[in-house]
Symmetry: C5
Subunit: 354 residues, 5 copies
């Protein structure tokens, strides 16, 4: 089950801005990687300590620091101090139960998003919190685990004459957000396939397992929705906001992500409607099944109960039962049976039960 | 099943603006047709290559280039370069899973719409993406297949003194959008007829097939809704937008399309409500049926079980059962039977079961 | 069934503004009646041709031209030409599947409304489209059939010192719209009575017919709602609009109609809620009924099946069954039967089944 | 049943502003009572005719005229003429099917509200329409019956040094509206108690009567809601409106009533949700009951049907049935019976049916 | 059951601003505790009477007066007089059925919130009303019982160099509101755990108890929702309001509480959706169970009823039944039985009933 609420009890009562990592530790050592580039040059390396990245902050090149793993709080703390980040922002980065949101500050913009992915056996939907802080010429990204969602962005940076190499930090931020939002389409494709499989199962052979699957998909949809609705607002704020950190040419790109978000939301809503309809279908299938069971019972019972009664009559020991003495009594009995069965069968045929 | 989400996985990770055709290839060769007209003159021809249309761009006549088939990417690309279209727009044209939308640029307005049609045997609802780009004196339309939705517009252009011949590119854009929106009425008429047929079936003889049909119609409604809601917003933007590309006299026409869209939306919502009510009717019909089955079973069982018992009594081998010795014992037995059956029948009549 | 969508296929592809009457022809000859009045004078006559009314257009008196029947297109066309009405407006007047709406032009205001009425046997809800075009001193009303909804307005005009005689065209427009909206109250009263009758039926003797009636009422409600919601907006636009054609003193009257519309909408919503609740009651009544059937079956079966077994035992032909030889064997048998019946009856009483 | 729509047919077609009392006559003679006060003086008397109150209109003291009974139209008419009240307002006062609303005029503010109360045996929810018209130093209240909802306000006025004596007409209007809104809390308390009683009944012994009670409460809730939602808007308009008739210090008091209204609305919505949940509980209780009935039937039938078959075997008259000759045949028979019963009982225990 | 409406009848008719404590008395003596601090100094003591705190009001230090217990009305009254608090505000403080709200006055801001907590055995959700009044350098908090929700805030104040010691009254107000809102997360965690337990129960062994638990959780959710939605608005007002009492630097902190509130609301909505889905699962589980019961009955009945009939035939006493005389008649009988059982079993296997 996707976790809807993280244990926050640990921080309760702590002063706001106290840095405590909420959520499970998903990676070993915190890994810091740096990419520093402009149109001409590119520098890419792994850092042992976050301090090594600080001198690059004031260079005009775009400096992208990626931090994988949130449990080493002193790394986050030092970064916060050097880049002059408000303690409440750092608290939000560390609290992995954060709701997606964006906040504009004077020197930087802060964005929290959720990356969703199915675990290895493709059964459980997991989420990873990704935070971005980007200013005029630096961008810091915080990931819970060492994921590969940004791999494609890195590769595009490595190529010399791409648009990303020529653009600034706002375009890099766009590229990363776009990568995350694009990833939702993968989730939707998987969900869409699951829904189609379920639909066939529903028509061919609905079992009580089907009901659980529908319920599970509904829960995933609720969770997905909760993560994606805020993104719409976030990107809207970034585009409509008057922050000078996002240049005019990048607006068009953000609008493109916005369109994708709307499309994802639309699709989720459609899926919800479809799942709701599937529930109705399941319940009606169960009703139909019971109807069929009842019919079988009724047909058997209404045919055999009367003829059993007839057999019962001629099993009686009355001294005087004329039929018993008749020459063709037994044949007459079978005649009655045939008659009853015939009448009943006709009745059921008329009722379209058989 | 109408496809709710197209495979986007292929473009994932690609740089934004990378031109990849998403969707199945629905036509053979890309076909380019050109109509160039003003009040006096009309020129209509098929082009072998898109370059042949470029010189017409700067003439004051209205130049309508229609491109059927999106899989030949270089045609799209050349058009984009010549008309100075942003790569993101070209990407949207090629991605046939696009949500209907409009975007205003300095030199042109970009509109994406969905044309819906039933396939040949009238059973499946298909969609075709149609994109329009129109500037001051050119309009480029992109279709997935070589359809005939614009046939009527073409014929109106061919007549010399029609309003369309005297008006500009904005009116042509209106005429094309109007043709697409008008087409939805056909879909609604078909749906309305299907709903009426279903309703009669529901009252006369509801089967589990009926349920599937209701579900299918609901899905089509969800899909239709998803395609049409955005059109409302699109046309609203075109009318309310301050783009100088749409002249004042054409506003009234766009408002007319807007009214049609609202009417379509209204009808879809009504259909949804009606379908919801039909589901309730179906479930209640199933309940009633089961009730009837139960009644038959109960009537038969409650009449015959007691009298079978009576027959059982006189089939016993006790040494001393006085009734068995009686002269009129067997007649008495039939008297008891008649009594039981009479009482039961009266009871059921009172209960209105028979 | 109220028709939710009219066949528009006939106009599809026609140039916008092409005049085609959509809807069935409901009256014989088009009938044109004219009332021309001011505070002092009143002139009322039937016209043979619409041209006879044209000279009155520019007089300062209020000229009300009422046209019953929409199928004679040339009448509409000539009116349009003389009063300088946009072809799209004429198209809307002729298309009786129009959604209620209002549009302001420089010289006149155009309003389309729906008049609802039950047919003669009071079983089917029909609709008639009524269009109004009013300028500074003329008002043209278009009706599908020769109805009497405006009879009262006419009578008020005939009286010399009424407010309507002193007021202008805007007040006449108000009076006509008010007459139409007032008519909805009649429909609501009928619906309210039907709902009350249904409610009693539901408590006393719900049948599968009841379900169909609920469904029918729900459909009428959906249809009603679709016709009335837009009126709210229409009147709001008229009041809030800055058209000089509606004078300040008339605003108060339009606000009154607005209040009535809100009240109608409120009542419809209440009715919808009540109908929703009635559906639940029906379904629960069906469940209760089945429960009762089941109980009868269970009581009979659980009493008689065990005692039939007992009778079966003593019908066996084993050589050695001691009880058969007993003097009081048969009495003992009846004792067992009495015991079983007693225990069962007590059990059912405890369960409150009997 | 609370009446959702009053017969308006009588006024249909009448000129707007025609004074006709719609609703049943609930009191005998129209009773006019007058309270005239300022900080120092207080005058309280019953009037025989409304004219006696007119001279007080222009005095600086607060003049409160209370009219009980709406069927004597000339009283209303004279009041209207003297105080210069628009005929549409008088029409609204007399039409007791009015929706709660407020309207601001130059000289006065007009407010219509609904007072709800249970009839004597506490079973039926009735409503009374109360209209207020207040200007700078007069307030006229119209009631359908001679109620005591304003008793407390009167008593507060009679005490010499209360705030109400020092304040103006706007505060008096507030006090009256507050008295009406406060009265809704009584209704809600009664409803809350009914819901709690119902909830216990639902868990202990749900009958088909329970369903009717739920339905009845839902209807009351729909009715209540319809009356209270508009109040929110009314008070909002009074506070936000720029009428000079409501002084700044009274705004705070109106805000207080506004808060109460919101609280009432909140509670009604909660009640609706709870009632919705109770319906689900009822339906599931009915299902559970049927399940239990079925189980009893199934247990009895599946135990006795097989053993009755065994008894049937040994009741057969075949010449050669070896068991019948055995010494311990009859004992063996009982052994088989014990075995079958044992197996069945174990099976049912495993299934948790017994 | 959480109480949805407090008895307000006691105050009905009283003059607005009359101080009456509504709600049960939850604590013994009213307890007044005082904390007075600035960056350097801290003074903390219990007061015997509220008057002892008054002199501190005008000092520049932050003065926090906490009052536990609302039943001693004179304490509230004296506080109100000294701090110049409007009687309506005091009335709101004493009425513990108040809806959460905030109001801005010239000298202070008034906030009412609800603290929720489970009672000792963790079964019932209780609420406590907490009111805050804060001005430039004083804050008065009113609690119903002597709770420990503010304990952590107190401890942070006791530490010398914390942010809270350096900040003003607005920050203290933030800290208290934050403590209350943070407490909701605890409630949500408990609810989340209960939902998970319920979900397992639902899949493994749903009983009618399960239904009651779902209903109970739904009610708690309704209650929770009613308390939390207004908080969103409250904090929004505080942040967006232009009161000079809340400094710019504190805005960021209020925005943080706002985010938490949104997150709580989101989670509640998700829980509601999940509970709705669980209800469907429960109903379908009940249906499935009944289906299974029916199947067992049908299988037993349809196998044994026909073969009992066969046994009945050969129990008849006709003079001439040839089979009875046959040598292998009895064996033939068993053959027929085996055949019938075999056919039936095959049929049920095909139907997947066994």
């Amino acid at each position: 089950m996707p976790i809807f609420i993280k244990r926050r009890s640990r921080t309760m009562g702590a002063s706001p801005g106290t840095l405590i990592h909420i959520g499970e530790q998903k990676t070993g050592k915190t890994r810091i990687s740096l990419i520093d580039y402009d149109g001409e040059n590119l520098q890419e390396k792994e850092l042992d300590s976050i301090e090594a990245a600080f001198p690059l902050k004031d260079l005009p090149t775009v400096t992208w620091i990626n931090i994988d793993g949130l449990h080493e709080i002193d790394v986050i703390e030092k970064t916060g101090q050097y880049f002059n980040i408000h303690p409440l922002v750092l608290e939000d980065i560390l609290n992995t139960g954060q709701r997606p949101k964006s906040e504009e500050f004077e020197d930087f913009i802060f964005v929290v998003l959720k990356m969703l992915y199915y675990n290895e056996n493709g059964e459980e939907l997991n989420s990873e919190q990704i935070s971005l802080i980007f200013g005029r010429n630096f961008l810091i990204s915080f990931q819970e685990i060492q994921g590969d969602v940004f791999k494609n962005v890195r590769e595009r940076i490595r190529k010399p004459n791409t648009r990303i190499r020529k653009a600034g930090c706002d375009y890099l931020a766009y590229a990363l957000i776009d990568a995350i939002v694009d990833h939702y389409f993968l989730i939707l494709e998987t969900l869409g396939e699951n829904i189609e499989i379920l639909e066939e199962e529903l028509i061919e052979n609905p079992t009580s397992k089907t009901m659980e699957t529908i319920h599970g998909l509904k829960r995933e949809m609720i969770y997905l929705r909760k993560q994606i609705w805020p993104i719409r607002e976030i990107i809207n704020n970034l585009v409509k906001g008057d922050s000078s950190l996002i240049g005019e040419p990048t607006h068009l790109y953000f609008r493109d992500v916005y369109d994708h978000t709307i499309q994802i939301i639309d699709t989720i809503e459609s899926f919800r409607d479809i799942l709701g309809g599937m529930l109705d279908m399941y319940l009606s299938a169960v009703s139909n099944k019971m109807n069929e069971v009842m019919k079988v019972l009724t047909i058997i019972a209404t045919i055999f109960i009367p003829i059993t009664f007839v057999a019962g009559i001629y099993g009686m020991n009355f001294k005087f039962i004329p039929e018993l003495e008749w020459r063709w009594g037994y044949l007459m009995f079978w005649g009655i049976i045939a008659l009853v069965v015939g009448v009943m069968t006709t009745y059921f045929k008329k009722k379209k039960w058989i």
